[in-house]
Each structure stands twice: as structure tokens, then as C-alpha cells.
Point group: C2
Chain length 217, copies 2
């Protein structure tokens, strides 16, 4: 399927992986076909939102027949790039880097961990789930030799900017950034940020709003 050439909104992109997850759960439960109404109840979004979102990519549904779960999941998987493998490395073998290295579920979506990098010489050659920890001086050659597409940055923000610039020079395609800073690179390196403390602040904001609304009742 050919994605149309117009801009897809950030909000739609944010929802796509969630559709993929729900469709995967339906499939695991043996559901073959689902209406946008039923999907909407499960996902707690409106049916018109679902139809609108999927129409961005050409539809997939036939009026009155609902969606074929397997087909729709496969197509959304293709849109997300999950039909091809993506080799990745993790830079920073601390707790978070190790946690991510141990997520076998990434593998099932086509994300293949090929190496882990750290600056601590005591970690050289240590393996996590069979994946070796390398020193940073091997970074560039490793990326080139192993066709690495994505680097995960789980290092402190003071180091992240410098390492990100090194990565950009290697021609890497994407950085999954857990460092608490916004990386400013050329548009040829896609950066996806996970700013955990900002997520925690949003939670605290929402708790505060809830408390405020209910103290006024």
C-alpha cells in the first residue's frame, strides 16, 4: 500500500502503534473481524476517530463489514515499518540500557539488538542476552559493518549531545533518545525522545487538576 504524500498529523502517528497493539490482542483472542464501533469501545476512542485515522492511509474498511483484523494489523505494521528488520545498538549499559536490552518483545517487532556500547572498561566483552558490550572506540566501525539503523541513547545528557553528533556522522538513520535533552541534528537523523521525567510531571499535573476539581464540588 502506498502512503499518500500529505502530512500525517503527530496525533495520528501517536495512535498508530496503539491500533497495532489492540489488533494484535484481538488476533491472539481469535477475533477475525471487528467493526469500528466495537474497536472504539475497546480502545476508548470514538468510532469516527478510528475511521478518520485509518482514512489517512486509504481506509481498509468496507462500509458495514468492519475491518479484517489480520489484514488491518499487517497493513498498519507495514506503515510502521515493522515488516522489515531494523538493526539497533544501545549506547549506555546502565540499568536503563540493560532493561531495554532485556526487552525481547522488541525483537518480535523486527528490532534486532546487535551490540551494546559503554565507556566502562570493566564491561568490555560482558554480554546481555548474548549481546556483547563494546567500547566506544569501536562505535563507528561497528555501525558500518553491522548495518545499524537505530541507536538507543541511555547515557547522561552531558554526554548525549557529543555522542549524538558522532552518530550523525556515521549516517545512522534514527536515535531513540532517553537522555534528558533535545538533540539538534540534521533532518537526516530522526530523533524520537523519551523524556521520562516529563511524563512523570504530566502525571503530577493531572493529579493536581483532579484534586482541584473535586475539592470544588
Amino acid at each position: 500500500m502506498k502512503v499518500e504524500e500529505r502530512e500525517i498529523s503527530q496525533a495520528v502517528i501517536r495512535r498508530l502503534p496503539r491500533y497495532y497493539r489492540y489488533l494484535g490482542e484481538l488476533l491472539a483472542n481469535g477475533v477475525e473481524r471487528i467493526s469500528s464501533n466495537d474497536l472504539s469501545k475497546r480502545m476508548n476512542v470514538t468510532a469516527s476517530q478510528i475511521r478518520q485515522d485509518l482514512n489517512n492511509f486509504g481506509g481498509f474498511g468496507q462500509q458495514g463489514y468492519g475491518y479484517n483484523v489480520k489484514y488491518l494489523r499487517t497493513e498498519i505494521g507495514k506503515i510502521l515499518g515493522l515488516d522489515v528488520d531494523h538493526n539497533f545498538i544501545i549506547i549506555g549499559a546502565g540499568n536503563l540500557g540493560q532493561a531495554l536490552a532485556n526487552y525481547a518483545s522488541f525483537e518480535r517487532s523486527g528490532f534486532k539488538l546487535k551490540g551494546i556500547f559503554d565507556v566502562n572498561p570493566r564491561l568490555e566483552g560482558v554480554t546481555i542476552r548474548g549481546i556483547q558490550i563494546h567500547m566506544m572506540d569501536e562505535l563507528k566501525s561497528f555501525i558500518r559493518d553491522n548495518n545499524i539503523e537505530i541507536a538507543v541513547l541511555t547515557i547522561p545528557k552531558t554526554k548525549a549531545i557529543e555522542v549524538a553528533e558522532q552518530l550523525a556522522e556515521t549516517g545512522i538513520k534514527g536515535i531513540w533518545n532517553f537522555a534528558h535533552t533535545d538533540l539538534k541534528l540534521g533532518e537526516n537523523v530522526i530523533v524520537e525522545n523519551v523524556h521520562l521525567s516529563e511524563s512523570l510531571m504530566r502525571l503530577s499535573y493531572k493529579i493536581g487538576r483532579y484534586d482541584e476539581e473535586h475539592s470544588q464540588e
Copy 2:
């Protein structure tokens, strides 16, 4: 400052912690006052976006004078609930739970880790950064006795739903959910999800779009 009673959009809420972070960096660099234009260049959003976002909360700027960095940061901090302490616990002492337990920076924003919970009896009494690991049978009394407001769920999704329901019964205010499932609880428990694999899929989507656009040139 009294937040107005209208709905603040999700997009604004998503941006607020980022303003807070940039203002903190400015303050650390000794910047006392900044125009929305200068802030906009640094943050890579439009100046009108900044003015619009902050107007949701009453403004803070005086035409032609820019923003007082310290004042604005303090006020955004209050909106985010960072002017008061929030006691929290982590449920799940695996790599991710340990990584979060080791993030001392949460503490500086008022998030106080009071305890860690796990089902593995070998971890009972072990401490991380001085914080003790407890067994799950102590959960309810611990939450009550320690005035716990937030629980962080770093356990597999198969367990998360059950534990979240237990948490809801204790009257906890918020759950920071890292389990790969959407928790469906009453509206009195605020859930903030961090679905890591969905973030990785968004990265892969964006890489694919970039490749597609540039192969067509």
C-alpha cells in the same frame, strides 16, 4: 495563581514540562529574562505557540518585556504540581524498576521514592539507593502508612491489571504505567502510560517516511 476552569488541551500539557526544563537550563546559565522570540528559537516552536500555550494559564509575560525566567519557571512548576512533595513507590524491582529507583533527578522535582515492591522473596530487605524492597503482601498497609500518592508499575502486563486494581482500592491517586497494556480504572486514579515499544515504532515509522520521501527525489 488560579488555573482557569476550561479544558487545557493534551498538546499543551505535553509541552509544559518541556518549558519547565528549558527555563531551568536558562536559569542555570544565569539568564534572567527572555522574550518569547528567543525562547521560541531555542525550543524550536513558534513564538505565537509559546504565547498561546502560556495564555492558557493567564499569561505571565508583559508585552515588550519578555518573561522573567525564574518567575515563569516557578509558576509552571506550580501548575505541574512540583511545588509540593509526591511520595511514590515502584512495583517491580527488575532492570527498569531499578533504573527508575536510581534516577535521583526525580527527587529534585519533589518525587520522593519511599519503597520498592517485588514478588521475588530473595529481594526482600535488599535496598536500592537506601530504599528498601518489600514484598507485595505489605503493599496496602505501606501505601496507607506512608501517604503514597503515586505507584510506578514496572511489571509484566499479565500482572499489571491485577495489581492496578489492588492499587485503586487503596485510594492511590496516580499510576505511572510502564506495563504494555492500558489500565482501565475509575476516574479517581490517574494513569500515565509509558509504552516504550510504541515510541520505538513511531521512530521506525518516521525513518520509513523519511526514506520514502528521499527515494522519490
